[in-house]
């Protein structure tokens, strides 16, 4: 087992891969990859929705006359109303929803990581006792 860094964090490399320890908490590369994959799924799903909604607006400007040239409320066209007002409501609700989900994901994954670390500690202690 080779120590790679020190100070606030300790990184160790084992036969199966690297671990990073902060106090009692350990990140293994397997756990981190799981966190990464779950976070990537969440972020890119939300990202796809965000870019679809955002790019639909100029697409409507270019190709949908009812969107860009028909007044629906005073001088507001649908296009003007969305870009000047409604888009912000979308941004707020969208970001709030994402942050809630991302925090919940962090929370559940951190418990999983702690449980994995606890199991690892127990099994290594048992190994030492048996040894």
């Amino acid at each position: 087992m080779q120590e790679l860094t020190s100070a606030a964090e300790t990184t160790v490399r084992t036969g199966s891969g690297a671990q990073m320890r902060h106090g009692d908490h350990i990140d293994t590369i397997e756990d981190v990859d799981a966190v990464f994959r779950a976070q990537r799924r969440l972020s890119f799903t939300y990202g796809a929705v965000f870019f679809a909604v955002t790019l639909v607006i100029p697409a409507g400007s270019a190709w949908w006359k009812t969107w860009h040239a028909v007044e629906i409320w005073g001088g507001f066209t649908l296009n003007y109303l969305v870009v000047s007002l409604l888009y912000y409501l979308f941004l707020w609700t969208f970001s709030y929803s994402y942050i809630k989900k991302a925090d919940a994901l962090d929370e559940s994954l951190s418990h999983t990581a702690d449980e994995t670390a606890a199991k690892t500690a127990v099994s290594s202690a048992e190994g030492e006792w048996r040894g």
Partner: protein, 613 residues
């Protein structure tokens, strides 16, 4: 000598004194590099969100968005929506990972992620280029506001030059004495000042100005849109005077008589400002109307501008620097949410001010009550970037104009300060501390940071003075917003593909990232330069070069090109850093945050109720 607005000037001076006072007050906290660059990394969520908003809401937002709406209608409103939407990309893909990685600067991220000096230096060059692109419009905003506010110069300088010089000196001073801690406090203070100023202008428009949003929009869109053009006599009289005849049909008799007097004087190089019907660049068979797209941007530009704005935010160095001051990845996300709330409300107000300006300034001009320092052609402002202070003066007299002018300077100060810190840390921290003198003591490092601030402030000053000299102010109708969007384009091309792949694709290699940054950053600079040359009339009116220059925003091409370059070169290269697993754990691991939570260092919690341990 123009019209001197004494009360407004006193308000600007008072705000400036507050700004400098704050910088001096926090001076004792900036004895270390962490203190100078990152405010000791101890800034709460709302405070950090306010500071990010203060750094983000530059002259482009405070003066430029209203100006762009005033000049271009719906095409201008996009600046507001895009500036806000950019933070979604930040929160989805960048904020949390960047904070967990825990480095000082974007260049540090590149170095830490890819492990080479080469990439750090390439990043530094791109950071400096982006910062300069962003600083230039702040300086232009200072000169424009000074012109409307004071209308006079000092020491033989024009009013514009005086504004640029004075703003530069003040910014230089307070960043040098305050560092990031100074800018954090100042950015918070300045953000709320300019939010209030924008709110007051809109509130006064609805009350004192009898403005009604849907009816006002209908009124503005009642007639085809007109552009103010400053042309030479030679241009006006070319092709049997086609432009002159077109202008005659859209101008009042008195205003056109002034133009004709210039033409009849016979000097082909003399200039006159005229009103001409705007061409619809998106739907070429329709007239351009205020509430429809196409006044400024063609089909490609409509998409490219949206992409530049929403992607560019995620790579702005002075914004990313602030993410390192959050306490955790979760806190970084929450900060971004509050930024969206703060700036979103601001960006709803700014286009209202632009539209109100279009109607109220015209009415005031016709009644002979428009402020004298701003130039007009038949009730339309010669320089649309002056719409905010002009509108404020009409609606609320010198007091409101003072609040707006102080807000404008606040916007310039806070953004330029953040940019100077980013530029200074690129040179002082990324180059000096790493390569030139790694053994330098703390005092020496802070000193080098301050010298870097001085150098870049002088550079920004020179660029600010040079803008009217090359005719950029005449080439673009709302120059402040346009120049800032160039910085966004560069950021979207140079940094965002590198950050996205660096965070989300483990197979990204150092060579891939460098190649992508050069393609994205270099391509952006090339297209922007071509567009400037085209707008200044140096590329003719047709041909391959003209076509290359006709794209206002390059992001539609540069972003995918950079992304593709990173992927292809990384696949071909295949040389990952030896410690790629450790790097991955630093970006996506949570042990550090769990540990900090155990110790009570992360008091900021999450948006879901913790189940506890």
């Amino acid at each position: 000598m123009g019209e001197l607005n004494v009360i407004a000037i006193v308000m600007v001076v008072a705000l400036t004194a507050c700004t400098v006072g704050l910088a001096i007050f926090v001076r004792r906290f900036t004895r270390t590099t962490a203190g100078f660059y990152l405010a000791g990394r101890k800034v709460g969520i709302i405070a950090n969100a306010s500071a990010i908003s203060g750094g983000y809401l530059s002259a482009a937002s405070f003066l430029g968005v209203a100006a762009a709406v005033y000049a271009s209608g719906l095409d201008g409103v996009w600046f507001a929506a895009g500036f806000a939407g950019g933070f979604i990309v930040v929160v989805l893909f960048i904020a949390s990972a960047l904070r967990r990685f825990g480095e000082y600067t974007v260049a540090d991220f590149a170095y830490g992620r890819f492990g080479s000096d080469r990439i750090r230096l390439v990043t530094v060059v791109m950071v400096l280029a982006t910062s300069l692109f962003y600083m230039a419009p702040q300086m232009y905003g200072a000169g424009t506001t000074w012109t409307v506010l004071v209308g006079a110069g000092i020491l033989g300088l024009t009013p514009y030059q005086t504004g640029v010089v004075i703003a530069s000196l003040i910014i230089m001073f307070y960043v040098m004495v305050g560092g990031m801690k100074g800018t954090t406090l100042n950015q918070i203070f300045q953000f709320w000042w300019l939010w209030t100023a924008m709110f007051l202008v809109v509130a006064f428009a609805f009350t004192a100005g009898d403005f009604n949003y849907p009816k006002g929009l209908a009124e503005a869109a009642n007639e085809p849109h007109l552009d103010v053009k400053t042309l030479t006599v030679a241009e006006l009289t070319a092709e049997d005077g086609a432009l002159l005849k077109a202008a005659e049909g859209h101008m009042s008799q008195d205003a056109f008589a002034e133009v004709q007097a210039v033409v009849e004087a016979g000097d082909p190089e003399a200039t006159a400002s005229v009103l001409l019907p705007a061409r619809n660049k998106l739907h070429t068979l329709r007239d351009a109307f205020f509430n429809e797209p196409g006044h400024r941007y063609s089909g490609l530009d409509q998409f490219s501008m949206v992409l530049a704005l929403v992607l560019g935010t995620a790579g702005l160095p002075h914004i990313l620097n602030r993410y390192y001051t959050n306490q955790s990845g979760s806190a970084a996300r929450r900060s971004t949410f509050w930024v969206l709330v703060f700036i979103g409300t601001f960006y709803i107000l700014a286009p209202i001010a632009g539209l109100a300006g279009k109607l109220i300034i015209d009415n005031a001009w016709r009644a002979g009550k428009a402020p004298a320092n701003a130039g007009y052609v038949d009730g339309l402002l010669l320089n649309s970037d002056a719409v905010m202070p002009t509108l404020a003066k009409i609606l609320g007299g010198e007091w409101l104009m003072g609040a707006v002018a102080a807000g404008a300077f606040a916007a310039m100060f806070s953004t330029t300060a953040g940019l100077l810190i980013a530029a200074a840390s690129a040179v002082g921290h990324d180059v000096y501390e790493k390569y030139i003198n790694p053994d330098a003591d703390e005092r020496r490092r802070v000193f080098v940071g301050k010298v870097s601030v001085l150098f870049f402030a002088v550079l920004a000053l020179v660029i600010g003075l040079g803008i009217p000299a090359v005719g950029l102010d005449k080439a673009y109708p709302a120059l402040i917003a346009m120049m800032v969007t160039w910085a966004f384009s560069l950021s979207a091309g140079a940094f965002v593909p590198m950050l996205l792949t660096g965070i989300w694709w483990k197979q990204t290699t150092e060579r891939g990232a460098i190649a992508g940054m050069i393609v994205g950053g270099g391509g952006s600079v090339f297209f922007i330069a071509m567009n400037i040359l085209e707008q200044l009339g140096h590329l003719g009116t047709e041909g391959r070069l003209f076509n290359l220059g006709s794209l206002t925003f390059p992001t539609l091409f540069t972003f995918p090109a950079a992304l593709l370059t990173i992927i292809i070169v990384s696949k071909l290269d295949g040389q990952l850093p030896k410690n790629v697993d450790e790097i991955w754990m630093r970006i996506h691991g949570t042990a550090s945050e769990r540990h900090r939570r155990d110790l009570g260092l992360d008091k900021l919690g999450t948006m879901v109720k913790s189940s506890g341990k």
